[in-house]
Symmetry: C2
Subunit: 182 residues, 2 copies
DNA sequence: CCTCATTGTGCAACTTGTTGCATAATGAGG
DNA sequence: CCTCATTATGCAACAAGTTGCACAATGAGG
């Protein structure tokens, strides 16, 4: 039950159409919870039917016509309720860990080593991107609670990518030269 | 397409029945990729139909009767093929990050702070558990490739929990005393 | 031997996420 | 004005994961 709340959050920050939301997910929110445009449109429909958001009125009908949504009071309340809720930590569910574990059984091939290096670079790139965000944010203020919270979330992203880069370095190192002493 | 391969890996390590697999998922593999018994039984059925595993022959029929599965040659090949494959890193998809981001918009309540502390303790407990595994493994050998690979996977789990504990400490610290200096 | 908790397997229905395609409006270029 | 790429919304079908329940065997205790 996270996607609708992710959408409510995004719409509270700025009312948007489905496609705008999709693009914003590709940039910011989607780094933590990605979604395709299909999921987003479907969820927008549900949220509207549930009376949590509404489409800003336009003249012409719908198809192929931009439709902007804004969050209603009940939507904001629902989000507040959700924020105060709980759930259990999820397993990381990254296939790479599983793949490595499987490689322990059927043998590590060159393909896997290459894949680890590739992921290392992807995570390093993501890390650089986040640090750029952080640099930009530092220029602007940190006054409001909102700024500080978003800074923490971003820090979480950075720390997580740091984990990946560092662990992948260990893993690559540990696998590259199996029986050799340096 | 990860669950079938997780199952193949587990069955290669040790042929098992559905329930045994479920229990093993609750302990080791499931830390990275959890699955309910339903998913496992369904997947075992598919894998058997696909000719990648087979049920070890028994006398009596099936219902409520333990059925052990073992991996066939084609199953092992499939797993080897998969290990050499690729996929893209997934987003972390942890609701807690989303929740915090939403809190940036609708305001951080006491409930959330408590939730962060709770998660911190859960991750710390998991970390302790992993370190216990590591201590036990260190007692046994590290000779084979398999041992070294499993050590790396475990190290990944440890580093990941370390990330959570450290970041949650930062987050709790950053939210607990909003406007106060020290 | 009968009941009942436990072990073990499984179906059905639902939710969430993915993939491929269809369709409508709009504006730029020939 | 006609075509065509782009923007924008959406349906349908599928795959993956979750939840709730049903049912069969087994062995222990009354």
């Amino acid at each position: 039950m996270s996607l609708p709340h992710a959408i409510l959050t995004a719409l509270l920050e700025k009312p948007s159409s489905g496609l705008e939301l999709t693009r914003r997910f590709d940039r910011s929110i989607g780094y933590f919870w990605s979604a395709t445009h299909q999921q987003i449109y479907r969820e927008l429909g549900k949220l509207e039917k549930a009376g949590l958001i509404r489409a800003l009125p336009t003249d012409s009908p719908t198809r192929g016509q931009k439709k902007e949504y804004e969050v209603l009071a009940s939507g904001r309340e629902e989000l507040e309720r959700w924020v105060a809720g709980q759930d259990e930590p999820r397993d990381p569910r990254d296939p790479l860990l599983l793949r490595l574990r499987a490689a322990g059984v059927v043998g590590v091939g060159d393909g896997l080593l290459e894949e680890l290096r590739r992921h290392r670079e992807l995570h390093a790139a993501r890390l650089a991107e986040y640090r750029e965000f952080q640099r930009r944010d530092a220029a602007r203020g940190h006054g409001t609670e909102r700024d500080r919270v978003q800074g923490l979330v971003l820090q979480g992203g950075i720390d997580l990518e740091l984990f990946w880069v560092n662990w992948l370095d260990k893993a690559i190192d540990g696998l590259a030269v199996p029986g050799t002493a340096s």
